[in-house]
Amino acid sequence: MKHCDNFLVSEKKFLNTSFFKLKLKSKKALPEINPGQFVEIQVNSDSKVLLRRPISINDVDYTTNEVSLIIQTVGQGTKELAKISEGEELSLIYPLGNGFETKGENPLLIGGGVGIAPLLYLAKQFCAKGIKPDVLLGFRSKEQMIALDEFEKYSNLYISTQDGSIGEKGLVTENKIFLASHDVIYTCGPTPMMKAIAEHALKNNTECFASLENKMACGIGACLCCVQNTTQGHKCTCTEGPVFNVKDIIW
């Protein structure tokens, strides 16, 4: 069951120069939300930005009925979202998409840039099953990184930066933990990163799931704008994704 409700902005925090975090509080009990699901968030009814923005869910707190989002300011829509104040309201359609399953005994979660957001909630779900997952996060540099206390709590955390300013220097696909053995890989991040991970996984016969991004209008499978080409034809990223088994993806 999907919902369309107003949420209260209960917390807003800038994480670095381009990332900010919103905690949004529902007025009613949250439905069950899977890791990897997303919300469609309406920017502002006065704005010249027409459509909602799909944002993946970073964390869920059922006790306070809050969802957390990590948003990167990239375009007009997210720039305007960054101007919202605590106490204001935002309209959300949620929860959307299939989300990640928590398969595997020895999983590796790999995030890049703002794609790290859904992996926190996924790591937490693994922990709830008694599995502390390996998490590998990639950033361009230390300045692009955000505070990772939460990730440290729920995972064995590894970092790669392109300039080596923190963690291992290089791409995530060069990190030693990437080269170690895992039974399932979960990834969310820039397409070139996910594509490289997918190739590696396919070669090694490791199951691998990638959360894809796409320009979206409705978020609920009505408009057919956000299709991903797959071995089974065009699939809606919003309803048949955003999480795809990489063996089905035609990049």
């Binding site: 027409l50 209008a217 609920i220 009505a222 408009c223 057919l224 704008c225 299709v227």
Partner: protein, 301 residues
């Protein structure tokens, strides 16, 4: 809600608010948000003779108060519709109308014939104005002679209410409307999307795989209103107006310009409950202005 009840040709509508083809799936996608049977009609996704994969990604981009889409009639084909989807939606206690698309007169006829057999589909909307397919589509809707031919052919085999959806990308939409009226259309709906284009200046690439594609949303409301106004003066058959409707006020504007009913398109993506809100808002408008029926203000501009 007697104030909103209308009849177009032989077809009754509990209210004049419909959802536009391609923006509301098959109705099913919106069931979580409101009782879609409260709509005057649900116009389901464009259906063609065979399954189509549609255009490659990217298919969508935003423009100032608008969006451009290049979906290109992705659908599972008329047989799949008749055998599967139809059975999921035939119980709806409102008009379910199928948008019929094609690349040739034969394809339009074939699809219309099959839909004609479906008991719970009381009307089709013949889409002769889709800008996103290479063959046919908008071609039929931009030339009065071709428009006449395709409508004439479908009219011969389609026995129920025949709506023809027209393109604004013409010198005179009233001319096209007159042609389809004379070919036997029961009503016209307008406007389909406006042919537009968007470019990523930084990457120096088009933002859509088809380069040009269909612009919709509030940006085009002035164009839709003008088309309805021009057509209302030119034809006798009813007009179903659409293009950039975001609230009941916009809907009333279309009625004032000459529309007998309206469709909501892009706004379904922004506010999934908009259909219901427009119905309630139109009722409130009529009450507030002491107007006893919505058609009392039709075309009075």
């Amino acid at each position: 809600m007697e104030k909103l009840k209308i009849q177009i040709g032989n077809l009754e509508f509990q209210n004049p608010v419909m959802t536009a083809s391609g923006t509301f799936g098959f109705g099913l996608e919106y069931e979580d948000f409101f009782d879609v049977q409260k709509l005057g009609a649900i116009i389901v996704k464009g259906t063609t003779g065979e399954k189509r994969e549609g255009n490659p990604a990217p298919r969508m981009c935003e423009t100032p108060m608008g969006m451009i889409n290049a979906v290109g009639l992705q659908n599972k084909g008329v047989d799949y519709f008749c055998e599967h989807t139809y059975h999921e939606i035939k119980h709806y206690k409102t008009n379910v109308i199928v948008n019929v698309s094609g690349s040739s007169i034969e394809e339009y006829v074939k699809v219309a014939e099959k839909i004609n057999e479906l008991e719970h589909i009381p009307a089709i909307e013949l889409n002769i104005s889709c800008p996103n397919v290479k063959k046919g589509g908008m071609g039929f809707g931009t030339d009065p002679k071709m428009a006449f031919e395709v409508v004439d052919a479908v009219r011969k085999i389609y026995k129920k209410h025949l709506i023809v959806k027209l393109s604004p990308n013409v010198t005179s939409i009233a001319e096209i409307a007159k042609a389809v009226e004379s070919a036997g259309a029961d009503s016209v709906s307008m406007i389909n999307t406006v042919l537009g284009m968007a470019i990523d200046a930084e990457k120096r690439k088009p933002l859509l795989s088809t380069i040009t594609a269909g612009l919709s949303g509030p940006a085009i409301k002035p164009i839709g209103l003008r088309c309805v106004y021009q057509t209302y003066k030119a034809v006798k058959i009813p007009i179903i107006g659409l293009g950039g409707i975001t609230n009941a006020t916009d809907a009333i504007e279309y009625i004032l310009a000459g529309a007998s009913a309206i469709q909501i398109g892009t706004q379904n993506f922004v506010n999934p409950r908009i259909g219901l809100e427009v119905i309630e808002g139109m009722k409130e408008y009529l009450d507030r202005h002491n107007i006893s029926h919505i058609w009392d203000i039709r075309g009075i501009i």
